[in-house]
């Protein structure tokens, strides 16, 4: 690709690298390289070789670059490969360099092990961003540039790093760099590139069609999985952002920082709960998972939901804010987050309905050291879509989103949200600064929503790479500006899977609906005793039906007038009706927290909620009548339900005719709505 000289800059008195390009480059290629190198000179990142100057002298094109003392990775990689710890470290740095460049619309296009220099201190420097292509370039320029570049690159001998889409003649994008990163990491571990052959045709064919040969068994599965994902033939199946690869590599780096004891490769002990009665569960049973401030209780009933067996407490003395039942791919797995003021927060799972639980030696969810943050609690466990059965999300405090691609083995911080410029100005509510709700759009795998107290609703349309605040129309009481861009104390958002464009929201004061993916919100607090509250659940079958449990105020966080009432709308918030049969009408100064209400998926739907005073109520007839299922539990923070052996199925809405509540709210009720504004 040219000749590199060590040179001395006499003006700035520094040694630099001076690269001259071959004269054989045609005028188009030279113009192209000049333009792109100028763009790359704007990059400033510790893992990118800085371009000081670009230009032409006597018809020769040159680049003046930072002089780096080090060895190309291609030289350090012996036939046996590098230690995997080094590969993780180098990989995270290369991914960091790509994150920086991609964020500025610059794709490397020629990442390979000889373009990665490692200094004696272990610092990685990626070279030759000068060949990158500006995505923003006009299409005709791009096409011409590609033609030129192809001839340049293929003669440069970098076919082994080319992605399938580039080989097919497509322009390629950021994800082609992630493919190349996968090749580099594979090569660094195995000592040779994954796709080889005697001829260009054989190499191309292997890239296009063959899976990469398995990595040596000594490579941790988490690292192998990351490389495997970078090497997905279809760009859509790879990581979509370099920041995701960076976060995944950082996560396994910190997870492998402490060696596992030799007798337990999984890094997890098992906690066996003896001396307590466990559930006997069969297919078709309904499960209730109840998280309290002092442990988890599990309940089981037949589909009639008339009598309940109870088991627990599991995790004696620890609080559980988040629970989930994973039945994807035929699993029967319970997930629980445990929080101890003493020992910290851990994620646990059970495949035996609570008889045994994993007890990870190392906290799998942890903030990277450079973030300076410390995990306080795990507030939400959200299973990935059915088509991504190994994906799990967690919402945590301090507010951040974590994602696992491997069934909870390793976790990575979703950097796009964590690095959002709003984050420093989010402020904690009474419960702490938490990301407590995660909603996945079932129809669009790139779109999801999170709710943060107090930051508001944020959405991504690109699978988590970038996030936008979606709070227009949501009023706040705790700031002088009443409709700020962000900072709302959202208590819950819900969505019906058949209408993912519509969201319902219970705010710290205020009930809202959005009909446009959260772009704007309208007030729907018509006929409720208070628009303050925490819990909100969507009916699993009817997209117009939502349940809430109003609380009097933020000062007096109890049910209004000591009367425990669930409210339901069946017309998407046009009106609300109280559901009270079987619930105490006086002397019940209760609080129901944001995750302490849920529905099952049966027909008629069962609805369940737990109170801070430790009472668990349920209705097996959509809320018409209620029964107290249990009394005397510790304060309840989380209630989830599941039907055993059934994937949670969302049925088509029952007809298109909307059922308008028979009981319209009276003017007197309207006047009682407390608006502390």
């Amino acid at each position: 690709m040219g000749v590199v000289y060590r040179a001395h800059d006499q003006v700035l008195q520094r040694d630099v690298a001076l690269k001259f390009f071959a004269e054989t480059l045609g005028p188009d290629a030279r113009q192209f390289l000049l333009r792109e190198a100028r763009a790359a000179s704007a990059l400033s990142h510790p893992n990118i070789c800085t371009v000081h100057e670009v230009g032409e002298a006597d018809g020769e094109f040159y680049i003046v670059m930072e002089l780096i003392e080090g060895k190309p990775m291609s030289v350090s990689i012996g036939s046996g490969g590098l230690p995997y710890e080094s590969v993780m470290r180098y990989g995270a740095q290369i991914a960091g360099a790509l994150t920086h460049a991609h964020g500025r619309n610059i794709v490397h296009r020629d990442l390979k092990s000889s373009n990665v220099i490692v200094t004696p201190e272990g610092l990685v420097k990626v070279l030759d961003f000068g060949l990158a292509r500006r995505l923003a370039a006009a299409q005709d320029e791009v096409t011409r540039a590609i033609d030129t570049l192809e001839s340049v690159v293929t003669t440069g001998g970098t076919l082994s790093y080319m992605s399938p889409e580039v080989l097919r003649g497509e322009p390629g994008d950021y994800r082609s760099d992630l493919w190349a990163l996968g090749v580099v990491l594979y090569e660094a571990l195995a000592g040779q590139v994954p796709f080889h052959g005697r001829t260009t045709f054989e190499v191309s064919s292997a890239i296009l069609h063959d899976p990469p040969p398995p990595l040596p068994a000594r490579i941790p599965p988490g690292l192998a999985a990351i490389i495997q994902r970078c090497l997905a033939k279809e760009p859509a199946l790879r990581y979509q952002r370099a920041s995701e690869v960076q976060a995944a590599l950082e996560a396994i780096q910190s997870a492998s920082a402490a060696p596992k004891p030799p007798n337990d490769q999984r890094g997890s002990l098992t906690t066996v709960h003896r001396g307590i009665k466990h559930l006997q569960v069969k297919n078709g049973d309904v499960l209730l998972l109840v998280g309290t401030m002092k442990g988890v209780f599990l309940l089981r009933s037949s589909a009639q939901r008339a009598r309940w067996d109870i088991a627990g407490p599991y995790f004696h003395g620890q609080a559980t804010y988040a629970l989930a039942y994973d039945s994807r791919q035929g699993r029967h797995r319970l997930w629980a987050s445990t929080f101890s003021m003493l020992w910290g927060a851990f994620l646990r799972s059970s495949d035996e309905y609570g008889r045994t639980w994993t007890n990870p030696q190392e906290a799998p969810i942890r903030f990277p050291v450079d973030s300076g943050a410390t995990l306080t609690n795990i507030w939400q466990i959200c299973l990935g879509r059915p088509e991504e059965p190994n994906v799990i999300y967690c919402g945590v405090e301090p507010a951040a989103l974590y994602k696992s691609h491997d069934d909870g083995e390793t976790w990575s911080l979703v950097r796009g949200l964590f690095d959002h410029p709003h984050r420093p100005r989010w402020m904690p509510g009474l419960g702490g600064l938490a990301l407590h709700t995660i909603l996945l759009d079932p129809q669009n795998p790139e779109r999801m929503y999170v709710a943060i107290s107090a930051g508001g609703v944020y959405a991504t349309e690109d699978g988590g790479g970038t996030w936008q605040a979606r709070n227009r129309g949501i009023r706040v009481v705790h700031m002088p500006e009443k409709y700020p861009e962000f900072g709302q104390c959202v208590h819950k958002i819900v969505m019906h899977p058949s209408r993912p464009e519509r969201l319902f929201l219970q705010n710290h004061w205020g009930l809202y609906r959005s009909d446009n993916h959260g772009e704007s919100w309208q007030d729907i607090a018509h006929g409720v005793p208070s628009d303050y509250g925490f819990a909100m659940v969507a009916h699993p079958h009817s997209p117009d039906c939502v349940y809430i449990l109003p609380i009097e105020s933020d000062e007096f966080r109890c049910t209004p007038e000591g009367c425990l009432r669930v409210y339901r709308t069946r017309n998407a918030g046009e009106s609300w009706e109280p559901l009270t049969r079987g619930l105490p009408k006086k002397g019940a100064y209760e609080t129901v927290l944001r995750d302490a209400m849920t529905t099952d998926s049966l027909d008629p739907v069962g609805i369940y909620f737990g109170t801070r005073s430790g009472q668990l109520y349920g209705s097996a007839d959509e809320g018409r009548t209620w029964k107290r299922i249990l009394d005397g539990l510790p304060p309840i923070v989380c209630v989830k339900s599941a039907v055993v052996g059934e994937r949670r199925v969302t049925r088509a809405p029952r007809g298109t005719k909307q059922t308008v509540s028979r009981r319209r709210s009276s003017p007197r009720e309207k006047s009682k709505i407390r608006r502390k504004r």
Partner: protein, 93 residues
């Protein structure tokens, strides 16, 4: 001289059930001793210190009878044969 780390009941499942772990390598500071402990019993580390390497807020570590918060934290020097105690605070709710 070795030093001894006393393991509180809730963490003994990560120490093969042992109530104390003897660290033979004559560590000179608390940090050195804990590094050895983490290698022997990796499950204890994340329950005693945060991912930022700080002792958790409601965990007290004593060298002898002194709370290390007042003796230099993780850099507290260790005398030969001293006992290190990891003791949960009486916080709670």
């Amino acid at each position: 001289m070795p030093v001894t780390v006393l393991i509180p009941g809730p963490l003994r499942s990560f120490a093969d059930g042992k109530s104390h772990i003897v660290i033979e390598r004559s560590p000179t500071t608390l940090a050195d001793a804990l590094e050895v402990l983490w290698k022997r019993c990796p499950g204890i580390r994340d329950r005693v210190v945060t991912e930022q390497g700080q002792i958790r807020e409601h965990i007290n570590v004593f060298v002898g009878n002194e709370d290390v918060r007042y003796t230099g934290g993780l850099q507290t020097p260790l005398l030969d044969g001293v006992e290190i105690s990891i003791i949960p605070a009486i916080s709670g709710g």
